[in-house]
């Protein structure tokens, strides 16, 4: 790169600096006016650290003066805004982080004034709620790194959720159910791969067909068989929580990471394994090459179609695991359309996570947080209709997709069929 190419248009930088600074100050004022002035002076907010029934060593709860904390948050936001206007901060990530953190903390302090709010419970339920989203996102990452878009994740998860609960109920063995779900996920993805690779079907159309089929088939089976034989077919129980000795005694982290069921552990394991595979192994190198420039890979003797088949099918198996989470991983029964758009939210998490396993996982946590926040707020009886709180994850998804917050290019060949 020459220096000329690196120079940045000063006008553009100035505009961005002013915009972020103004937003920060606006957030600060909003916190002050809406949360601060509506907090009763003298009330305290208790953030619980200890989770009932958890193995962690008990520590004192975090008790803060409500109004003071809200004002502090408003102050921090305004301070950063002023600093930004005056000097400018390089990292947009920091700015967005400050906006989100001050707003969320102030909001929670305001909402839970005079009451107790369990922070650890909130964080660990974020991870739990992030699990199906993260698995969907990982499915997306691995497929799209080889340039195949799989928008049928939602349908795959629905079908494997149902498969898991039915097989587990019939065999009375949750692990058989888990295996069956993964198998069904793999089979559906194989079908998708076959359509888009062999027949060059439009990838999005094929994915939509899987979604329609998934919704129709599960409803069909649900109303035809499950309703009448709930005990036999739709009552599996759920995976038990496995505590990891010693580690589960760490406050906050213990209940969050080390007291979970097998699906959640598998998800975390998959994040690590996929990251290593993608960036440090021959298969990963080939996958990335196929996703960026399939012809180049082909001319070096890499079997483009094979790489795509394997990745898409592996992705489907991961989505199958995600489907199993909905039934045998959390509630033990199947309900119609119980995935509620999580497959699509997973795709947004994948985009936000820049097609990286770890990025996809962290952005899934944001969605999981939005989801569990909504539940907590209903418990706290916040004066906002619950229906509006339920919209939060969907609205967050749409904001994320606008790319206001960080933007990365997808794999160059993403979505395009490969012709020799």
């Amino acid at each position: 790169m020459t220096t000329a190419e690196m120079t940045i248009n000063p006008a553009r930088v100035r505009r961005a600096r002013l915009a972020y600074g103004t937003v920060l100050i606006a957030v600060g004022l909003f916190i002050y006016l809406i949360f601060g002035l509506n907090t009763q002076p003298g009330l305290q907010t208790t953030f619980g650290i200890n989770l009932a029934g958890a193995h962690a060593v008990p520590v004192p709860d975090l008790v803060v003066p409500a109004q003071g904390t809200v004002y502090l948050m408003a102050g921090i936001a305004v301070f950063f805004g002023a600093f930004q206007l005056a000097r400018g901060i390089k990292s947009t990530g920091t700015l967005v982080g400050v906006i989100a953190a001050t707003f969320v903390i102030a909001f929670l302090t305001w909402a839970a004034q005079g009451k107790s709010f369990n922070l650890t419970g909130m964080i660990s339920s974020s991870l739990v709620r992030a699990t199906p989203i993260a698995l969907a996102a990982l499915c997306g990452v691995i497929s799209e790194r080889s340039a195949v878009i799989n928008i049928g994740i939602e349908g795959i998860m629905l079908l494997s959720a149902q498969t898991a609960v039915v097989t587990a109920s019939l065999t009375d063995n949750l692990y058989v159910g888990l295996f069956a779900a993964i198998l069904v996920g793999g089979l559906l993805a194989a079908f998708h791969a076959y359509l888009v690779i062999r027949f060059k079907v439009d990838q999005i159309v094929s994915g939509v067909a899987i979604n329609i089929f998934g919704a129709g088939f599960t409803s069909f089976v649900g109303s035809r068989f499950l309703e009448k034989n709930t005990d036999l077919l739709n009552n599996s129980g759920v995976f038990p929580v496995i505590s990891i000795p010693v580690l589960d005694r760490i406050p906050i982290l213990g209940p969050m990471l080390f007291e979970n069921n097998i699906v959640i552990y598998l998800m975390i394991l998959l994040v690590v394994v996929l990251h290593i595979t993608l960036f440090y192994t021959p298969w990963g190198l080939r996958t990335r090459a196929v996703g960026e420039h399939p012809k180049a890979a082909d001319t070096l003797g890499v079997n483009v179609y094979l790489v795509r088949y394997v990745n898409v099918i592996l992705g489907g198996m991961i989505a199958g695991l995600g489907g199993a989470y909905f039934t045998i991983g959390s509630v033990g029964r199947f309900d119609e359309i119980m995935t509620a758009g999580k497959g699509f939210i997973g795709l947004a998490a994948m985009i936000f996570g820049k097609w990286n396993p770890i990025g996809a996982f962290t952005s899934s946590l944001i969605f999981g947080f939005a989801d569990s926040l909504q539940v907590k707020l209903q418990i706290l009886r916040v004066p906002i209709p619950s229906e509006f709180l339920l919209m939060a994850p969907y609205i967050v998804t749409m904001i994320v997709l606008t790319g206001v917050v960080g933007r990365a290019a997808p794999p160059a060949a993403d979505g395009q069929p490969y012709e020799k």
């Binding site: 790169m1 020459t2 000329a4 190419e5 120079t7 248009n9 440090y280 192994t281 021959p282 190198l285 080939r286 990335r288 090459a289 960026e292 420039h293 012809k295 180049a296 890979a297 082909d298 001319t299 070096l300 003797g301 890499v302 160059a412 020799k420």
Partner: protein
């Protein structure tokens, strides 16, 4: 002397086309075989068969006296055949090392990529053949000349001793071509054999040991460089006598139609690719913009036609400033644009010819009344233009995608020239076309010039620039190195400018007209 490679009776049919018709070629050990032919002669098809990317319908491949079957690149690599593709097969977001190791990755601990080992081997190869390159650099940051070295290293890393170079000089400056020839000679010294595919006559005469000429999928003949001359090769390639010059009168330039001052433009990835350039185009002249591809020409044209916003600077069309304006506004002010990528920008391939012919004017009378399209007028317009511009199409209702490249380009030319225009911006107007179409389009451009239109011609084919231009601007890294009167230009001088070097002293005037025309 042994033959390392023989192709016997290779035949390949595509739907409706006989791409290769019983082709025989022979490559001698340690020699350079030049495969000469114009675009569409079947050279690339033949090499893709040899490399296992296509399956031949008939014929056999003999490597070192043994008949072999090549089902894919892996087979070719195993037989010691390596190919440097015309369009580089490199992944831009990966490093040199990653690109080289792809497909034959060594591992450590049984699982993980061993990049250090590959990087060391790359350095070895670099030293051995004089192919200097940084193994840890990302491809997207390297200039094309270096990218080509990476391609060659990829082949040598796989221990190939038969190298196929497909149009390797297309993207290089004349000086870089010399560098490439040096590398080729050092490869030959080390015992490699090379097939050199090109459509450029002078290069063939300069480097080949044997020459085989293809035309319309058939071998026309083989000849040694000692017996051959440019004229003989040209008539073998095209099948008739070819006039090697474009006949044109001296230009009669008038007042400027286009004035560009201190223009800066960013590309879609926000890199500053046009770095403060100024020039003007006058009525009745052709200003040629020479330069290796990727030096900001594309972005310059996009900025002039409204497809990219200006970062700063000024553009004036007929004296009126152009800023914050739309492509439509620019079109309506009398600018015609023959785009670089005709299938991406120039045509809607799934639309019939008649709709493509009104792509820029469909909303205006007589093609529209209010918001309703006047189909009858559109059809009549198409019939007339197809006749006038000699577009070979079964009917005006055929989709543009069904036409040959030359006829697609004629559709674009017909559409753009049928509007009243003051300025013609022609970007790579003859890329990938056959000689007949090239001649036709060149003559049309000159005709427009003589009618008083200002022409901005952007081409990476130096010969095309030299043949058509009245003045030549050379672009390098977003700057204009110099603007020269065509009469004072010669290839070497422009070549140095294209490589970013300001030659000492004034250029030597060329004797006679530029001898070679582009194919």
């Amino acid at each position: 002397m042994t033959n390392v490679l023989e192709l016997r009776g290779i035949t390949k049919r595509f739907p409706g086309v006989l791409a290769n018709d019983h082709i025989d070629i022979t490559l001698r050990e340690g020699k350079i075989l030049a495969l000469l032919g114009e675009n569409g002669a079947g050279k690339s098809t033949l090499m893709n068969i040899l490399y296992g990317l296509y399956k031949p319908d008939e014929g056999k491949i003999i490597v070192r006296g043994q008949e072999v079957e090549i089902h894919g690149p892996n087979d070719a690599i195993a037989r010691g055949i390596g190919m440097v593709h015309q369009h580089f097969m490199l992944v831009p977001v990966m490093t040199v090392t990653e690109n080289v190791m792809l497909g034959v990755e060594p591992v450590k601990n049984g699982l993980f990529l061993d990049k250090a080992k590959v990087a060391a081997r790359i350095r070895e190869i670099s030293d051995q053949y004089g192919l200097e390159v940084d193994p840890d650099a990302y491809i997207k940051d390297l200039p094309v000349g270096i990218q080509q070295r990476v391609e060659i290293i990829k082949v040598l890393y796989r221990s190939a001793d038969i190298l196929i170079l497909d149009e390797p000089t297309a993207v290089l400056t004349p000086q870089e071509v010399e560098g490439l020839f040096k590398i080729i000679r050092s490869l030959i010294e080390k015992g490699k054999s090379i097939i050199f595919i090109t459509h450029k006559l002078k290069e063939v005469l300069q480097i080949a040991d044997d020459i085989t000429v293809l035309r319309l999928g058939k071998v026309v003949g083989s000849i040694s460089p000692q017996e051959a001359t440019a004229e003989i090769l040209a008539s073998m390639m095209v099948g008739r006598e070819v006039s090697l010059v474009v006949s044109k009168q001296p230009a009669k330039p008038a007042e400027p139609v286009l004035e560009v001052k201190d223009l800066y433009v960013r590309d879609e990835r926000q890199n500053l690719t046009v770095n403060g350039i100024s020039f003007d185009v006058r009525k009745g002249e052709v200003l040629g913009i020479a330069g290796v591809q990727g030096n900001g020409q594309t972005e310059l044209v996009y900025a002039l036609t409204g497809l990219l916003p200006l970062e700063s600077g000024e553009i004036r069309l007929l004296g009126q400033p152009v800023r914050h304006t739309t492509p439509r506004n620019i079109l309506e002010r009398g600018v015609a644009h023959i785009p670089e990528d005709r299938q991406r920008h120039g045509l809607i391939l799934s639309f019939p010819v008649h709709d493509n012919l009104v792509l820029c004017t469909y909303y205006k009378p007589p093609f529209a009344r209010g918001i309703t399209l006047q189909e009858k007028v559109i059809f009549e317009n198409a019939e007339a233009l197809v006749k006038q511009f000699d577009v070979r199409t079964p009917s005006i209702f055929v989709n543009a995608g069904g036409l040959s490249g030359g006829n697609q380009q004629k559709v674009i030319v017909a559409r753009e020239f049928s509007r009243p225009i003051q300025l013609l911006i022609a970007s790579q107007p003859t890329r990938g076309l056959d000689v007949g179409s090239i001649e036709y389009i060149h003559s049309q451009i000159i005709k427009k010039r003589d009618e008083g239109t200002g022409v901005l011609l952007v081409s990476s084919e130096l010969d095309e620039i030299l043949a058509l231009s009245d003045r030549i601007a050379v672009m390098y890294k977003g700057h204009i190195m110099e603007i020269i009167e065509a009469g004072k230009a010669n290839k070497e001088y422009i070549g140095l400018l294209m490589a970013g070097v300001h030659p000492q002293g004034t250029p030597q005037p060329v004797e006679g007209v530029i001898a070679e025309k582009v194919f």
